[in-house]
Amino acid sequence: MFLANNMLSLEKVSMRYDTQEVLENISFSAGNGEICSFIGPSGCGKSTMLNILAGNIRQYTGVVSLKGGAIDHRAMSIGLIAQDYGLLPWKTVLGNIVLPLKIKRLKVADYKQKIDFAMEKLGISQLSKRYPNQLSGGQKQRVAIAKTFIMDLNLLLMDEPFSALDAITREETQEFFLDIWQQNKPCTLFVTHSIEEAVFLGTKIFIFSHSPGKIVAEIANPAFLKSRADAEFFKTCSAIREIIQKEWGGT
């Protein structure tokens, strides 16, 4: 069962900074074709979990596996849209977007069409020669998205990837994400503070507790990709809101 293609599994993953417990016994698994939405209070350890999977944090306990073995970041393609966008300030927009290709020693020319398409769709074509500190937060976020979606991925980690976008751009960008995602449907973990977004984009929804973060609910989402006007969509959002009110104590 664990050998299914690109199956990701976490077993009793816990993590602590010196004195503070940040994650407590996180266990779940997900495979191709799944988008797991994560909702949790600020500071509960969502980014920490993604950073463990991204290889940026090593001092955790428990077992993390992808394709039945430890995650091999060099051999596999793992996309990370970091909460701070993860752009290098001394590289231009285009330089940042092609960076993953260069690191993986892929020919940039082979991906030219994909790059142009993504930049066009995300409305950042005009910005390609700018440096990150000449961009707005939302523009940086879209660069981070473009950069991550150029390669085919085994695992996609997204930390509040649409948070800095205005309402219209946000919906367009979500559409773009879904278009790209549906080509290969890589296993995706998606952190968000928006219940609607979690329901719209998640095949499964996980709810975290206050710090130290534990999974308090796992919901198979019947409303995945359903219109926001759909009754099922509304029902699922209400159910989640109820769980949150109970678990987070009214906030």
Binding site: H73, G86, Y131
Partner: protein, 247 residues
């Protein structure tokens, strides 16, 4: 181009301020050793009769070579010193040798490398490289860990991380350090040119002093300052091109 116009303007303003202070000093001191700045400016064209071009080019060459080697060594050793393993050897070495008055080693350097340009360039490098090493080391140590996150996630090799993050970051430290060290570099240049050469602005200034030609001595000081100014502008332009991302 706009940057050069800007530099020229600030050069002009600086010239007026320094001229005013100098004129005041001329009035107050009232001795031959402090000549009228107007006189000195008028004498500038006569410098051409004293082979000033050759002196100037010699000084420029030594200064640029010295700064080039300081920069290269500062970058390499500074990055190494930021590495925990290399630091075990390098840090004690740097701390131990930093307070040594390296200017005092001039006789040794001259004995080993001769009286020519080599020993002068080594002397400048020996002194200017140190602050650059320290600045580069500190700036590399200050690289936020998160800067590497995207690369780690992509499974980048250490070499890739070095060239993608560490080196560009350190390079920005080098330029700021160079700017700070420039004054020292010019002072050392002057010092080394007062021995074992008959070319260079340092030699020219000393020569005029000994001939009690204070007007031309000051004209030489003006030219040496101008040498420094050109290098300063050069660093600025370099920074403008290489560190455009900072603005």
């Amino acid at each position: 181009m706009a940057i050069l116009v800007e530099k020229l303007r600030s050069f002009g303003i600086g010239l007026v301020i320094v001229g005013a202070i100098w004129y005041l000093a001329y009035i107050v001191i009232d001795r031959a050793v402090m000549p009228n700045p107007m006189l000195v400016i008028q004498s500038l064209p006569t410098l051409l009769n004293h082979n000033i071009g050759t002196h100037f080019m010699h000084s420029m060459y030594r200064a640029f070579m010295g700064l080039f080697f300081s920069m290269t060594i500062g970058l390499v050793v500074g990055i190494l010193a930021a590495n925990v393993h290399a630091a075990k050897v390098l840090t004690p070495f740097l701390y131990f040798t930093y307070p040594i008055p390296r200017v005092a080693l001039l006789p040794v350097i001259m004995l080993v490398f001769g009286l020519g340009d080599t020993s002068k360039i080594i002397m400048i490098t020996l002194i200017v490289a140190y602050p650059i090493i320290i600045v580069v080391r500190d700036s590399v140590k200050d690289i936020p860990k998160e800067t590497y996150n995207t690369l780690i996630c992509l499974g980048a090799t250490r070499v890739q991380m070095f060239f993608t993050v560490t080196l560009p970051w350190a390079a920005s430290g080098v330029l700021s350090a160079m700017r700070i060290s420039l004054g020292t570099a010019i002072a050392i240049l002057f010092f080394t040119e007062t021995y074992g050469t008959s070319f260079g602005m340092g030699f020219f200034i000393l020569d005029m002093w000994q001939r009690i030609n204070y007007v031309l001595m000051f004209a030489g000081i003006v030219v040496l300052s101008f040498t420094g100014f050109i290098i300063f502008v050069f660093i600025d332009v370099l920074e403008d091109v290489l560190l455009r991302w900072r603005k």
